[in-house]
Symmetry: C2
Subunit: 459 residues, 2 copies
């Protein structure tokens, strides 16, 4: 990179000279929290200062950092360092506050006060945006400042910008994404190496991909936060985390992965938001999807989101969903966006925080029992003549039609019968499952996994 680095330096110097007559003052920011994301942001602003300066025509200066633990090697050159984030909020020099503390408090209050004080805010805090974002965006709007959160969803993938701006001409019909890297790593390992969930989870914890308490990741809460945010900007509805259905991957067995494979599917932990005739669906759960889909091929800690708009059809966005570099990439992109706006003399943010100036207030979120999709059922049954007929009768009585069946050689007295259904309302399917479990021939709990056909998607 020798040639470029020097070319860059020369030109940036030239740029400074060109701009020197009316060169805008540095854009001054503060950072609250120097963990992985905050530290990564500071490092990235330093490492790519020349390139960012050439794009922006001015420098971004970190003038104030708040960190609980002093990190002098990171904060070298930063004018002011505090242990109190509210010192950053109160600093009149600071035009933009980066909130990278995480958690609910004091992060919420840091953001709220910053916005109320007329400072822009960039945050990576998905839990806070998903659960308390409606209050915060109202404060931002009242103060005519930006609250930016690209890094809160899918790490380095600029999916918020794509939904809010790049696809703004569309009515978004649905989106579906692999939006938790830990869960995708676990399912990928289970699929590629026929390993058990608990075994891979332990490895993921050792590798640092999963927390000591893995609930947020494997039970889908983290994904539900991200899905809530995407659904809001896709459909123009308020953030409604409490209405997002969430189901984790801890019940998935290598056996299910094998049967799915045999039927032509992979099992992925998807977040799905859809606008149906009946309302909005927001749901996170294990999902069978055809092996031929690009989304099924996104492996390891990668994230990917497939979005369907009424004009564009389907587009896919894929990349790293976590990590210091990718997350900082999105945090700094937000800072550059805001600095570009400030420099252009806007009276108010270009784009509404959640993408819409008027929301679709009449749109209701559907309970999970009202969704309609295809299902995978694994039914443990006795190995007797007539079992399949009995099962079929129960399904037929509930108007559920069968798309495919696998009936295996019995391993003991029990034999798993695997069924793919056609579209059915979940409430009716649940009734059928209850009826099936009443049968003498059914020897245990039925495993049910939703199937996503992605009708009309090319790749």
């Amino acid at each position: 990179m020798g040639k470029r680095a020097s070319g860059s330096r020369v030109n940036w110097q030239k740029g400074i000279e060109i701009l020197s007559n009316d060169s805008p003052p540095d854009f001054k920011i503060g950072i609250c929290g120097l963990g992985t994301v905050g530290g990564g942001t500071l490092n990235l602003l330093r490492e790519n200062a020349d390139e960012i300066g050439m794009r922006l025509g001015r420098k971004i200066t970190v003038s104030h950092v708040a960190t609980r633990t002093p990190k002098p090697e990171l904060t070298a050159g930063v004018a002011t360092t505090s242990s109190d984030p509210f010192a950053v909020v109160a600093d009149p020099e600071v035009q933009l506050v980066v909130e990278t503390m995480g958690g609910y408090e004091p992060a919420f209050e840091v953001i709220r006060q910053s916005l109320a004080n007329g400072k822009h805010v960039v945050t990576a805090n998905k839990a806070l945006i998903a659960e308390r974002g409606n209050e915060l965006f109202a404060v931002a709007q009242a103060s005519n400042v930006c609250l930016a959160y690209e890094s809160s969803v899918a790490g380095g993938i600029p999916i918020i910008k794509a939904l809010r701006e790049g696809l703004a001409a569309n009515r978004i019909n649905w989106l579906a994404g692999i939006i938790n890297g830990t869960g995708n790593f676990i399912l990928t390992e289970m699929t590629q190496k026929s390993r058990q969930f608990n075994d891979v989870l332990k490895q993921a914890q050792e590798l640092g991909y999963a927390e000591a308490d893995p609930t947020f990741d494997v039970e889908g809460i983290d994904a539900a936060h991200k899905l809530t945010i995407m659904a809001s900007i896709a459909f123009g509805i308020p953030l409604q985390f409490d209405k997002t259905y969430t189901e984790g991957i801890s019940q998935i067995t290598p056996e299910d992965i094998d049967y799915a494979d045999e039927l032509g599917y992979r099992i992925k932990h998807l977040g799905i938001a859809r606008l149906s005739e009946k309302g909005v669906e927001m749901r996170v759960h294990p999902t069978l999807l055809s092996k031929s889909r690009l989304l099924a091929r996104v492996n390891g800690v990668g994230n990917a989101i497939l979005v369907h708009g009424n004009a564009v059809g389907s587009t896919l966005y894929s990349g790293p969903g976590a990590g210091a570099g990718p997350t900082a990439s999105s945090v700094v992109a937000d800072i550059i966006d805001i600095a570009r706006q400030a420099e252009s003399g806007v009276k108010r943010p270009i784009c509404p925080g959640l993408g819409y100036l008027q929301t679709h207030e009449g749109l209701e979120v559907l309970p999970i029992s009202e969704i309609e999709t295809e299902y995978y059922l694994r039914i443990p049954a006795v190995d007797k003549v007539g079992v399949m007929a009995k099962i079929s009768n129960v399904l037929t009585a509930k108007d559920i039609s069968i798309d495919a069946v696998i009936q295996k050689e019995p391993t003991s007295e029990s034999v798993p019968i695997v069924i793919l259904t056609h579209d059915v309302v979940e409430r009716k399917l649940n009734e059928a499952i209850a009826a099936l479990e009443e049968l003498d021939e059914v020897t245990g709990k039925i495993m049910r996994i939703r199937v996503e056909p992605f009708h009309g998607v090319q790749n």
Copy 2:
């Protein structure tokens, strides 16, 4: 969509009322050219008017349309219709001109005059932007107006926005894309059905995927236009179409596709832009890439671009690269972007047209002979003992090391020897090919296809 449509209508009415006190006047645009893209834009603005209005807080009105052929069913409700695009340029009502005529003239002059008159311009004209964009962006900058061109690259995929804004925190190291749907359709059919190039081309023409004169698509000129534009905004360099190396797919045979498959690769027509130690590479050519890559799985008329930034790592953007709906999606997204800016009171466009305020002027574009990559060689040779040794000696003498070899059973006296090399400078490889073709044992022209390893990319 019943519930949503009515919800939307109610809310939009409410929105109008909310905004009625200081509601901004309609944003008025003109459209020059009512072909596929222009007509699609008009239709999309009409179809999604409610949704766009809710996002924007104001209406977009098409107040003037210029079309050679009157199309009354399309222009119903448009205040003024002309046959002369310069009437749109001169219309004082029009704030933004959509140029969807295509071609070089009068499109260039329509855009230039619009910008000079202080009107924003949105264009889908990749040839014009790639070949004469430098002049046009200078006019736009001098007039403090936007020249937007999202639809000129990869149809409905918001890749310009991703490069210019979403990844703005990064130094972009390289990008590689399937950016011509026709070519990808042809290679997909050849791969999946072992068909000959000419045979599939004919079908593509019948399906309307390929023009009667397919040169622009199959010889890579269309892809080179798009690559030129992406390279400029990725690296901060002027548009340099004349320095983009272009090689088509018409020489690819089903035989090469089969050998590549055997070695674990697919052949795709890629546009690659890379920043190396030596300078900038811009090249369009058939390329072997590992079957395990998502990019290798993008089939049919789909487009996809893989981008590598120094902070984020690699991200992929995939979707429809052409068609009325996808292209109009990007045209209208540009219109919304500009309307949002106009409404926010900017003194100048938020983002520089090509993403940088200062360009890297020292960066030179490398001639193709100076690139360094891996290669696939198919060498027609006589079936004699010692042939492979002779070929190896020639390669060794040029410091070219071999990664893999396939030697087939002879079909006649001639047997193809297929070789994958490790990294080598193309100039040296070409010398080796010339030397090999001098050998008595080599019976014909050697087929050479570049290989792209994408080191360090996860998916």
